[in-house]
Symmetry: C2
Subunit: 191 residues, 2 copies
DNA sequence: GTCTATAAATGGATAGAC
DNA sequence: GTCTATCCATTTATAGAC
């Protein structure tokens, strides 16, 4: 049972990540230091290096965790036969995901941190997550790559505008349904 | 003619801003220091304080300059009677503006710099610029606020995806025309 | 695994001579 | 207006004792 120590180690890693997320939400994705993370978990900064090789390694773990959460979010959308229903549900889920944590969205969807690039593994997870999103759209016949690209642009655009220009409001949230209708009118006129 | 000195002062300010833009493009919006800006213009860092009160003051001037450029970009779009033509031109102009300088786009459209907020004046310029954009859309009958919001979300979404997921390519650029058609099909079915 | 101590660098900003 | 000198804070990261 050598797992005892390994499990504790993993738990502490998670605790550190949770503290980093909290700080990122409060002061911006790049607005926190290792000292502050250490304080938040009751450690001194150097001790963090037992769990992460560098600050960028923390960002990388956050990146990975964020895409894991997105994957779960996508998978949690109830399947539906009706394209309109499914599209609305997926769009809402993604929109909420994006808006509920703008710092996370900056990390996952924008290149905001100077010098940081996700590791190979993390990038692969991101790729798989977006691929899954494509599969969900494919399940209702949206399978042209251009259609998928158009859909992602539309939904990320709505969410990004909501965050930047009406934080806390619903000015762009209210446009999800009209957008879905607009999209469907083009992509599956039969429906 | 006390302008001599004032004009030189203004010219140096512009030179400093140009250096800051250059560094922002090369190393990311927040990936540069005052020392580096000073080096780039052949000064020492403290001398910059003759021209700007702080680093945030430089960001504020960049913010203002960026929206000024966007205003000019919008105004440079040839007026057209045909909605489809005008929408395509405005969308392309905005898309190019966004994609051609991602660091500028982060500054203007995303809240990326911890602790920085534009001054009252700069914010007012931003507001006026976006208002102008609304007027251009209004000139072809797109005047419902929801329609304008939907349009901005769509175009910023396309540009943002282009920058993040296919830098240097045209994967989302090719979707501008289809997007405009999709939008028009909804907003002015008569056309 | 956690600590103290400290390196080593960098950051923005100020004081004061010239 | 520009400089040198320097402050003072902060940062990430390492060394080594416990």
């Amino acid at each position: 049972m050598p797992d005892r120590r390994a499990r504790r180690h993993e738990a502490t890693r998670r605790e550190i990540l949770a503290a980093a997320w909290q700080l990122a939400r409060e002061r911006g994705l790049t607005g926190w230091s290792l000292r502050e993370v250490a304080d938040a978990v009751g450690m001194r900064a150097p001790s963090l290096y037992v769990y992460f090789d560098s600050k960028d390694a923390i960002y990388d773990a956050m990146f990975s965790q964020g895409y894991q959460q997105l994957l779960e979010t996508v998978d949690a959308v109830p399947s539906a036969e009706d394209p309109r229903t499914l599209l609305r549900d997926v769009a809402s889920a993604f929109f909420d995901f994006y808006v509920s944590d703008p710092a996370r969205s900056q990390l996952l969807f924008l290149r905001v941190i100077p010098g940081f690039a996700p590791s190979e593994d993390s990038y692969e997870l991101a790729r798989r997550t977006l691929e899954r999103l494509g599969e969900v759209l494919g399940s209702i016949g949206i399978d042209r790559p251009e259609a998928v690209d158009l859909w992602t642009a539309m939904v990320t655009g709505l969410a990004s505008q909501q965050v930047s220009n009406d934080p806390g409001g619903d000015r762009w949230a209210r446009l999800i349904e009209p957008s879905v209708d607009m999209f469907l009118a083009r992509e599956s006129p039969a429906a």
